[in-house]
């Protein structure tokens, strides 16, 4: 009798303890305004619905691939859900570090009843990738540094036009996007860019074009760099993520203009690390289903100017949470902004990244 009681009490305790630990989710994201938008749009409502749960953030998305590899090697994966860009998701999926999932089972249907698979459409670029937002890399320029008698730039090739628009530019310290812009402005037709870039001559052509502005380029590596350089007046124009520029222009009220021409679309979303315990997995799945539903993704757009990855969320995008301005015109996907765009070519860069990276770095060091 006594033994049974002890056993019962023991297992009850174990259950309580198990439940208590399982309720804590470790989410990995990017920090800054983006993480705040996730916190407000879906983590806070989720915690309200699940009073026992808690969420710990780890701002390690920038090193997600390396860290997940190390965790896997050490046999100690401490992350539950990781926010990564699509290209990293593809790599993690190929290496077996991310879990493959079935969209129909894991993700909620759209508000309008479309199946999850159709609602996200092509944006599910990998079997492991759960899309959240569409963002773009594009240019901002100092409106007060446009030379007198010249119109503000509306064409991405202004970046390469030092005569009309003198001044420093800030570009990301990697070949992706820069090579495409260089070829486009060197007269290569948009739909031939990747064919040209696949050849060594094409790569040299792109680098030669970049060479014409090399002396006037400040290279950035963190998303916060270009906004800082623009606010300082250190550079006349610079590339960065459109949400950062939105923050500089609208929230910080700096004299900066947006150049949407030839913006490069990219995707950001969740991956579930492979090898979670069943209990943990059930909880993560519950969170993901909630966090990627139509309303939550639309809500996120009230905090940051990134487009929701679901088609059904687009009509629900409303106003900025604090400023009360309409967010739709600030979305990269707004028809007015998306007249001339490029989509990050995941396949091309998966195949050519190492080669072109080496070439680019060698060129940088010259």
């Amino acid at each position: 009798m006594k033994l049974t009681q002890t056993l019962l009490a023991g297992s009850a305790l174990a259950l309580v303890a198990g439940a208590a630990t399982a309720q804590d989710l470790t989410l990995v994201s990017w920090g800054g305004a983006y993480q705040t938008s996730q916190q407000k749009a879906y983590v806070e409502p989720y915690l309200e619905n699940n009073p026992g749960a808690s969420v710990t953030w780890d701002e390690s998305s920038a090193e997600a691939v390396a860290k997940l590899r190390a965790m896997n090697e050490a046999g100690n994966v401490t992350w539950d859900l990781v926010d990564v860009v699509a290209s990293d998701a593809i790599r993690l999926c190929d290496e077996g570090l991310a879990m493959e999932y079935d969209p129909e089972e894991l993700l909620a249907e759209g508000d309008d009843g479309t199946s999850a698979e159709d609602d996200f459409g092509d944006l599910i670029v990998s079997d492991c990738f759960i899309p959240q937002i569409v963002y773009s890399t594009t240019f901002g320029y100092r409106t007060d540094m446009v030379p007198e008698g010249v119109d503000a730039p509306t064409d991405v090739c202004a970046v390469f036009d030092l005569e009309t628009y003198p001044g420093k530019r800030s570009l990301e310290k990697r070949p992706i996007n820069n090579m495409e812009w260089a070829l486009y402005c060197d007269g290569v037709a948009k739909d031939e860019i990747y064919d040209v870039l696949a050849t060594p001559e094409g790569q040299d052509q792109a680098l030669a074009k970049l060479d014409t502005i090399k002396d006037d380029v400040i290279w950035w590596s963190a998303g916060a760099d270009t906004p800082q350089l623009l606010a300082d007046g250190e550079v006349f124009m610079g590339s960065t993520y459109n949400g950062r520029l939105f923050s500089v222009i609208v929230e910080q009220d700096q004299p900066v203009g947006m150049l949407w021409d030839m913006q490069v679309f990219d995707l950001d979303g969740w991956i579930i690390p492979a090898g979670l315990s069943d209990e943990k997995l059930a909880e993560v799945e519950e969170f993901v289903k909630f966090a990627t539903d139509t309303q939550r993704l639309a809500d996120q757009a009230a905090y940051i100017s990134y487009g929701p990855a679901r088609l059904s969320s687009a009509p629900l995008v409303g106003q900025h949470a604090d400023l009360g301005i309409e967010m739709a015109p600030h979305m990269p996907t707004d028809p007015e902004n998306a007249k001339n765009t490029l989509l990050y070519n995941y396949e091309f860069w998966a195949d050519y990244r190492d080669d072109i990276d080496a070439k680019f770095q060698a060129w940088l060091a010259q």
């Binding site: 470790t26 920090g31 800082q228 606010a231």
Partner: protein, 392 residues
């Protein structure tokens, strides 16, 4: 000391010396406004002309001439770039007025022996100038951060409002952000929870190790010492990666205890080094005398040895504390998101969001560090005083 009589020097010499400094500061003014070379040449020429005129025509009217310098520079600075120029002009005017007459009157030689050769005089002042410049070089980056932390904008930028000393350009919002944001407060709390415990462990183990290693009969003393201070020598990233895999296997990775132990390991070498250094001056006959009077080793340690080596223990402990409090590499590996410390949070903040909140935190940390170092210095002085009073 005033054995040397001040002998007035030629106006050209005084103006030449002033022009050297003029050229040097001209570089900065010139670079800031677009042309380094122009600044260098312009600074030299303008200062030479002014100093020469002052030393030639106003040699006897030193006071009014120096005021003239100040007024001229302030007015020039104000015309050139408004209020910030005015402040700079005040500094430069005072400096160059003083310099011109310091050299022209020959007063600069009064501090030196009368037989010094010109070369010795030159070296005397060059040495001081170089030392001063090194000090400026070391301290400027820290000082620049402080006014920026009161920036009213969310960037690392001296806004025009700040430069013209407009109160609207300043704000305490980054300090408010630090004290109200749960991220920063959580990080501060973690640091406060980790650093003292790591310090106590480091001080305990480090002191014991130092005392043990100072006994002449311990075998392999050098080798053991080398191993114990290796965390200080091995690149941090190597220790961190090693700890990561080791701690993962034994279940310490991502735990509070793991971070505390890792930081203690980093702090131990500092304690060993400082305690060993104080033990060198420790008179062993004191412990024998204590034993002779019937004290057991523990009593001897706490009543005789510990009070004498306390300054070494405390300064070692402070270094261990600052190491843990400032450390970012190891905690990134060994800790998990639940152990986010202040430096970790600053690292994230710097990479993802260049926000002046980091500068506010940096300012607070600088003040804490100054307070800690002042404590060490006061303790050291106290112990020196006590030693001076002791009969040995």
């Amino acid at each position: 000391m005033a054995l040397t009589i001040a002998k007035p020097t030629s106006a050209v010499f005084a103006a030449g010396v002033a022009a050297l400094f003029g050229a040097f500061f001209g570089i900065f003014v010139g670079t800031a406004s677009g042309s380094t070379l122009l600044g260098l040449v312009g600074g030299a020429v303008v200062i030479f002309a002014l100093s020469w005129a002052a030393a030639t025509f106003l040699r006897e009217q030193e006071k009014p001439a120096r005021w003239g310098f100040v007024v001229l520079f302030v007015a020039g600075g104000f015309l050139f770039s408004g209020v910030p120029g005015l402040v700079l002009g005040l500094i430069f005017g005072t400096f160059f007025g003083w310099l011109t007459f310091y050299v022209a009157s020959g007063r600069y030689r009064t501090g030196l022996p009368p037989y010094s050769t010109p070369r010795q005089v030159l070296w005397h002042f060059a040495f001081r100038t170089i030392a001063g410049m090194i000090l400026v070089f070391l301290i400027t980056p820290i000082l620049v951060v402080m006014p920026l932390s009161f920036n009213a904008e969310d960037f690392f930028t001296f806004t025009p409002e700040m430069l013209s000393f407009d109160p609207a350009g300043y704000s305490l919002k980054h300090y408010r952000d630090f004290f109200t944001s749960s991220d920063w407060q959580g990080a501060l709390w973690n640091s406060v929870r980790i650093a003292p415990v790591a310090t106590i462990l480091a001080v305990g183990f480090g002191t014991l190790a130092a005392i043990g290693l100072s006994q002449p009969h311990v075998p392999f003393r050098q080798a053991i010492m080398a191993i114990l201070i290796s965390p200080m020598i091995v690149p941090l990233i190597i220790s961190a990666a090693g700890m990561y895999f080791f701690y993962s296997r034994i279940g310490l990775q991502g735990t509070y205890l793991g971070v505390v132990l890792a930081h203690a390991a980093l702090g131990i070498p500092f304690v060993i080094i400082t305690v060993t250094a104080t033990l060198v001056g420790f008179d062993r006959s004191l412990t024998r005398a204590a034993a002779n009077m019937g004290a057991d080793p523990i009593t001897t340690f706490f009543r005789v040895q510990m009070p004498l080596i306390l300054p070494g223990v405390i300064s070692g402990g402070l270094f261990a504390f600052i190491t843990s409090f400032d450390e970012v590499v190891v905690v990134l590996f060994v800790g998990s998101a639940g152990q986010k410390t202040l430096p970790w949070q600053m690292f994230i903040g710097l990479r993802e969001q260049i926000s002046p909140t980091i500068l506010a935190v940096a300012t607070i940390l600088v003040i804490i560090s100054i307070a800690l170092l002042t404590t060490v210095e006061l303790l050291r002085r106290r112990s020196e005083r006590l030693r001076g009073m002791s009969p040995s």
